[in-house]
């Protein structure tokens, strides 16, 4: 399994490399630059800035410099946030995003599996219809509708929770963002698990387990759910990468200092290194979680083997 993991990690290197290259040249192709202001800068100052940020070198040598720095873990200085390097920005923002994302992810996995399995066990009952209805609602209502409504209701009308803002030390600030992030995922996972559980309950190995006279608790908890988790697990891989690298909507609405905003802000402000940094982080997370999904898959489904 270790050699499989290593092999997978090695094969991810070219993918990340291609993504980095593509992004680097695409963002440079975009018209405008990081120092284009409403009032144009003095040409001398602009030339000095370009020299300071190595923008006057040829694109090719800039690319090689960037790759070299990247290999040493240096994401470069931010172009629009003076005095900050991209590493500094991520050192502050990434823990916040990861904290929120992992809480939301755990909440979504636990609640989604629970409700999905519950609905499947009581198929075509009131519980089932309620879960499916609420889940459809959760999938179709966009985050940027839910977030302001929750913030208004719990933050302003009831006054139970802070309507926005962030404090790493005070978990009460975490509640609304985590719940908002988790809601659509709970809905999707519940639907996936429900469908898969219904299928698993009809499958041969579950019928065999029943025929052995195993208690329902074991049949469902061990044999059926194990198979039913598979689609949810493969869905969770890319989703986890997305959740952990921050959500621009949540961060904007609740005013959270995560890294989700950096991508949009960086691309709009032509902050080349910031955009590149975000893309690299997202790509690495996607690669890691796809690997993790494959490992969990093999653990859940013994038919899958590493080869």
């Amino acid at each position: 399994m270790l050699s499989y993991t290593l092999k997978r990690l090695m094969s991810a290197v070219p993918t990340v490399f291609i993504i980095v290259t593509l992004t680097f040249f695409l963002i440079r192709l975009a018209p405008g630059g990081p120092f284009d202001l409403e009032r144009p800068l003095d040409p001398l100052i602009l030339a000095n800035l370009n020299r300071a940020y190595n923008l006057d070198a040829s694109l090719w040598s800039q690319y090689l410099t960037y790759l070299g720095n990247l290999l040493q873990g240096d994401l470069g200085p931010s172009f629009t946030r003076r005095d900050f390097s991209v590493n500094d920005l991520f050192a502050v923002g990434l823990p916040v995003s990861i904290l929120l994302g992992s809480l939301a992810l755990s909440l979504a996995a636990v609640l989604g599996t629970f409700f999905g399995a519950w609905a499947a066990l009581r198929q075509n009952s009131a519980v089932d219809y309620a879960v499916v209805g609420v889940a459809t609602f959760g999938i179709t209502t966009p985050t940027f509708v839910v977030a302001p409504l929750l913030s208004l209701f719990f933050g302003v009308v009831l006054g139970w929770l802070p309507a926005g803002g962030w404090s790493q030390a005070n978990p009460i600030y975490w509640v609304l963002p985590v719940v908002t992030l988790a809601l659509p995922q709970v809905a999707i996972i519940a639907r996936l698990v429900r469908g898969a559980t219904i299928e698993a309950l009809r499958s041969n190995h579950v019928r065999t387990a029943r025929a052995y006279g195993l208690p329902t608790r074991v049949v469902v908890g061990v044999h059926a759910l194990r198979a039913a988790m598979l689609p949810a697990v493969s869905y969770l891989g890319p989703t986890a990468a997305g959740l952990l690298t921050g959500s621009v909507v949540i961060e904007t609405i609740f005013g959270i200092p995560g890294i989700g905003r950096y991508f949009v802000q960086g691309a709009l402000g032509r902050d080349y290194t910031l955009v590149m940094g975000t893309v690299v982080v997202i790509a690495v997370f996607i690669v890691l979680f796809n690997l993790l999904v494959d490992l969990i898959y093999a653990w859940l489904d013994p038919r899958v083997r590493f080869d």
Binding site: T15, L26, L29, T140, F144, V145, L149, L152, V248, V275
Partner: protein
């Protein structure tokens, strides 16, 4: 050589006719109540989006400065009790002695008296007002007394007005039009790209397939918003760019689905038969393979339309989408979220409309999947 009988003539009347996959699916879809209700809702919303703005009394970009953020109401604006005070305020500003103003229907009139000749220029105060129209001054010969008449225009804002005084109902209609058309156009775009790419990749197979699918894998790991921002930055913010951008990022799943279908289809006898008869590769692809992949593709498209609408809303929410005064549901929602304290309806109406559309599309997609699924007969 035998003559193949025409199947429609060969069957005597009354005998059972074979049903095609599509007829069968249609029959089963009609039995699904949620799907039928969704189709009706979508049809109504499409009609509203297409024709509503043409027949609605308020243009979507007309600003009513005196009615900013008025709540939704079935009663007309200005309120009955607000007309006379507003009229008297204007009279005070005009500095004329006046009797009791009388309001009958939409006509308002007041008797004026003065020690000096009444200056007809006082009419300007009324002409400038947004509440009163066609003011007229009927002066006696000596110019000391007269009657001032004006008309009050009554406006209905059934869904209220937004933060700068535009009719919400008209804006939601335009929003529905823009959101639905972006959803449909982007899906058509993704459909054309994804089906062609997937079918070509699957049918050619081998190295070509490998390279083409690697490209898809790489595009998968690039964040979607990146493309959109780049496209928007390159070509400016226009509707066409938005739907191209969404379509260009949503074809990847389609390509995978179609490729998978094609891989299994190309080994079947009818394809081999076509090859044996010397049909060209392109001919086989477009005559035989693509039509046979359409079942799953249709289901996927119904689920793609809500996805595209959501993406467009997200873009508009980030300020990268449709630009004011044109609007989409996403933009309306983001404006509503900014104004929700004290004007909650600005968020509620567009959010409810968007949720309704997405709900209907999801139910329709589920219904289509159930009715097209051959396992489920």
């Amino acid at each position: 050589m035998t003559i193949k009988p025409d199947p429609t003539e060969a069957l005597p009347a009354g005998e059972a006719q074979g049903r095609s996959l599509w007829q069968d699916a249609w029959l089963r879809l009609r039995r699904n109540r949620a799907a039928v209700a969704s189709m009706i809702v979508l049809a109504v919303l499409t009609l509203i989006g297409a024709f509503g703005p043409m027949i609605w009394p308020h243009p979507y970009d007309r600003v009513y400065q005196q009615f900013v953020r008025v709540p939704a109401s079935l009663e007309a604006y200005p309120r009955e009790e607000a007309v006379l005070p507003a009229f008297e305020r204007l009279l005070t500003r005009a500095r004329v002695d006046h009797g009791e103003p009388e309001l009958s229907g939409s006509e308002i009139s007041v008797g004026l008296t003065s020690d000096e000749a009444i200056d007809p220029r006082i009419l300007r105060y009324f002409q400038r007002s947004d509440l009163f129209f066609a003011p007229a001054l009927d002066l006696a010969d000596d110019g000391l007394t007269g009657t001032l008449t004006a008309r009050v225009e009554r406006l209905h804002f059934y869904l209220g007005t937004d933060a700068i005084g535009r009719d919400m109902a008209a804006r939601i209609m335009i929003g529905v039009r823009i959101s639905l058309s972006i959803g449909i156009l982007a899906s058509v775009m993704a459909l054309l790209l994804g089906v062609t790419y997937g079918a070509v990749s699957g049918y050619l197979g081998g190295k070509v397939d490998n390279v083409m699918m690697r490209v898809v894998d790489i595009l998968y790991s690039l964040p979607f918003i990146f493309f959109v921002i780049l496209l928007v930055v390159f070509f400016g913010r226009s509707l066409v760019i938005i739907f191209i951008a969404i379509g260009a990022t949503e074809w990847l799943d389609m390509a995978r689905i179609v490729r998978g279908q094609t891989l299994s289809l190309k080994r079947q006898e009818f394809v081999q038969a076509a090859e044996a008869m010397g049909a060209t590769k392109a001919g086989i692809l477009f005559r035989h393979i693509i039509p046979n992949t359409l079942g799953p593709v249709v289901v996927f498209v119904t689920l793609l339309v809500p996805k595209a609408i959501l993406l467009e809303s997200l873009l508009s929410f980030l300020g990268l989408g449709v630009q004011d005064p044109l609007t989409s549901l996403g933009l309306l929602i983001s404006e509503g979220a900014a104004n929700m304290r004290g004007a909650l309806w600005l968020l509620i109406w567009p959010a409810a409309t968007l949720t309704l559309i997405l709900f209907a599309l999801n139910f329709l997609g589920d219904g289509l999947r159930d009715s097209l699924d051959p396992k489920d007969r």
